[in-house]
Symmetry: C2
Subunit: 418 residues, 2 copies
């Protein structure tokens, strides 16, 4: 029984997207960091195991963020009055260029990682910058905080400011160096990160695709965020059938686990490809609103059987907490429904499912409390001024819409309290 833990509280998770599983005043049994079961009465066999009784608090799966830019943490909320290109040039590229100085990374990245931790995002897929040494500082910060992540040293060798351009050879060499440096990290894995098609020559993308294939390393990039971007990509890669094919033709799509962020404007063919190749379409509603990109047709994609995940996309997204991304996704879906009543509205349980179990698929068996899943969890308390008799599910709604770091009183990763 020494490797058994028992927690008690109001346990809520989503096994399926259409409903919450709610276990009030129940016990969750964890063995070697993995969920063994949930019980309303603790089985006799565990009678000598001390119970971590959280009382009235909620026990929910911790959040996972499938798309976030660590170097943009310091620019959240700033410059969103500009269009995309001006925002990139006046803020984003300038910010990322600062990470050539490792000392700067040592200042910013621990703050960024702490913000992930405070907001209950215990696993994430992160874009860093082109700078290998600074990106290693991000890895260190994550390891120090004991958070799980895929981290990508970004690749860019065209269509970018000089200070953010690499040569093809540099880009590949530094990426391989970064992969070596991560080694067998307990918390962080590498992910191949071509910024997006316009940033990378065909040659670079071929080499990255080969690297991904040879080392079985996943991919993350951007896809179909705006119509202008699509037109630009097709002019740069006229031999590819569509934007998704640009990546597929370079072995950067579906050969390994692949995250495609935004995916607002995919054609029917591309949706079919994404389904066949088990691509993760990462919905970033907050960012899409802030940069006036559009709203991804999320429920349509879900109903076609596509894997739809979610991301905060900090810094175009101005909120790092995934509870904000969840409520933003619901609001965006409602807006699509007003304009097109045939499109159904994303349910609360679905939005929660995307940010937990669906996002968790990228990492393995995480994001749910079914037997065999790793116990990643948040313990959530009520606001101090709450006087209503709310049900546990209503409390969860209150947390998603109105909560924040102050609501989170416990964090578990693979059964360890962190």
């Amino acid at each position: 029984m020494t490797d058994i833990q028992v927690l008690k509280g109001h346990i809520i998770y989503t096994k399926e997207k259409d409903a919450f599983e709610v276990h009030e005043n129940s016990y969750i049994v964890i063995k070697e960091g993995t969920v063994r079961g949930i019980h309303d009465t603790l089985p006799e066999v565990y009678r000598y195991v001390p119970v971590m009784d959280y009382g009235n608090a909620l026990i929910i799966p911790s959040f996972i963020d499938l798309h976030i830019h660590a170097p943009q943490y310091m620019q959240m909320g700033v410059g969103l009055n500009l269009g995309l290109i001006d925002w990139l040039n006046q803020y984003t590229f300038k910010n990322e260029a600062k990470f050539e100085d490792v000392a700067y990374a040592k200042k910013v990245y621990p703050r960024f990682v702490d913000a992930l931790y405070q907001n209950g995002t215990l696993r994430s897929c992160i874009f860093a910058t082109i700078h290998k040494e600074s990106t290693r500082e991000l890895v260190k910060a994550l390891e120090n905080k004991r958070l799980s992540a895929y981290v990508g040293k970004v690749n860019m060798n065209q269509n970018a400011p000089d200070e953010l351009l690499e040569t093809t050879e540099e880009s590949i060499r530094e990426t391989m160096g970064f992969i070596e440096a991560i080694g067998d990290s307990e918390y962080v894995k590498p992910i191949i990160t071509p910024r997006f098609a316009p940033s990378c020559t065909s040659d670079l993308m071929h080499q990255l695709g080969q690297l991904s294939h040879d080392r079985s390393i996943p991919i993350q990039t951007h896809l179909a965020e705006t119509k202008r971007e699509i037109d630009w990509v097709m002019s740069l890669f006229p031999d590819s059938k569509n934007y998704s094919h640009v990546y597929k033709d370079h072995q950067l799509y579906g050969d390994q686990k692949s995250l495609m962020a935004h995916t607002i404007y995919l054609s029917e063919d591309e949706l079919e490809m994404a389904k066949n190749d088990n691509i993760f379409l990462v919905h970033c509603p907050n960012s899409n609103l802030n940069l006036t990109s559009g709203i991804m047709p999320v429920t349509t994609c879900i109903d076609k059987g596509l894997q739809v995940g979610m991301g905060s996309d900090v810094g175009a997204g101005h909120k790092i907490g995934m509870h904000h991304t969840i409520t933003s996704a619901i609001q965006c879906s409602k807006m699509r429904h007003v304009l097109n009543p045939e499109e159904r509205i994303l349910k609360e349980s679905e939005a929660f499912y995307l940010a937990t179990k669906m996002n968790g698929r990228f990492f393995g068996k995480v994001g749910s409390f079914e037997e065999g899943y790793l116990f990643d969890a948040l313990i959530v308390k009520d606001p101090d001024d709450l006087i209503e008799e709310l049900t546990p599910l209503e409390r969860l709604q209150r947390f998603l819409y109105c909560g924040g770091p102050d609501s989170i009183i416990g964090r578990y990763l693979e059964g360890c309290s962190i």
Copy 2:
């Protein structure tokens, strides 16, 4: 010089909607609670006046909320998975019915008022419930906290649950009693508050309109939030030309200052009426998204010369801070622009202007730092983890998008620190 105050900091406000006025490291001189002037060097005449030097902090006009439901404070974020009617029946009406018990009002209203204060909303226009004595508790809580507000005892005598129905005679008698009870309050004024047309018989509305006219008391109500609502209203009041006319025909529109919340679906005729009668159209973007109502065409209305204000509409809106309403309005405007590129996007300065100077018009000369305006202000500090060299305007952007109560280190109402 005893009635003179001088504050120093980075002073930002909007005199016009199209740009921020930014005075870095400047002095603002206040005499008897009113702005006398802003100077980059303090004039000699004030040399013996001690300066409240706020250093690097921002000094901005405090926020004003033109539409908020105090009794719904405890239900924020809860039940938003339901449509409007179910949300009303399962949550809102049940919550409001609890205020028949004055003891309940004594628990909730101070918490609500404290939340206004914490979030920097120092003036607001508030819907209470039908219950006069509980509404008086709201007035007391505002007076204790020294916040400025118009408070309305709500009127409803049809199409509502029994526990929230008044007779016409009760409704008028209690409203008059409430007005008497407010008396010459230093902080709170009454406002006539028919919930909306479906809630009130023609007879009740006539009497309320007469009361408003006789006592020169402003009006607040809801207008054109959803298309179904409009259809319902026209079936109830077939003799009126349109929904706005229902109010106008009962002297509840334009005779005194009038707040109409939502105004998403106004016809061209109604927009013309609103302009001619100086109506305040109160945009509640967050609520409109949460209840799947639609998005008000804000920039179109502004460009037609209409008075557009803003409201949090707690509890359909899940955020009480007006900085959230500001960013939500910008996001909603961007969404309209994506779908209809001819509609321009609401600028940041405009959104800020709506929540300060435009909203302030309802109260008098507040919401700006021009000479002669009352000094209502917030002192805003940077987040603790900020390491960027941000300009004062960028700091303001960061506060609007990412800030909250923790950012606000000072609050002034009419020159008094509160």
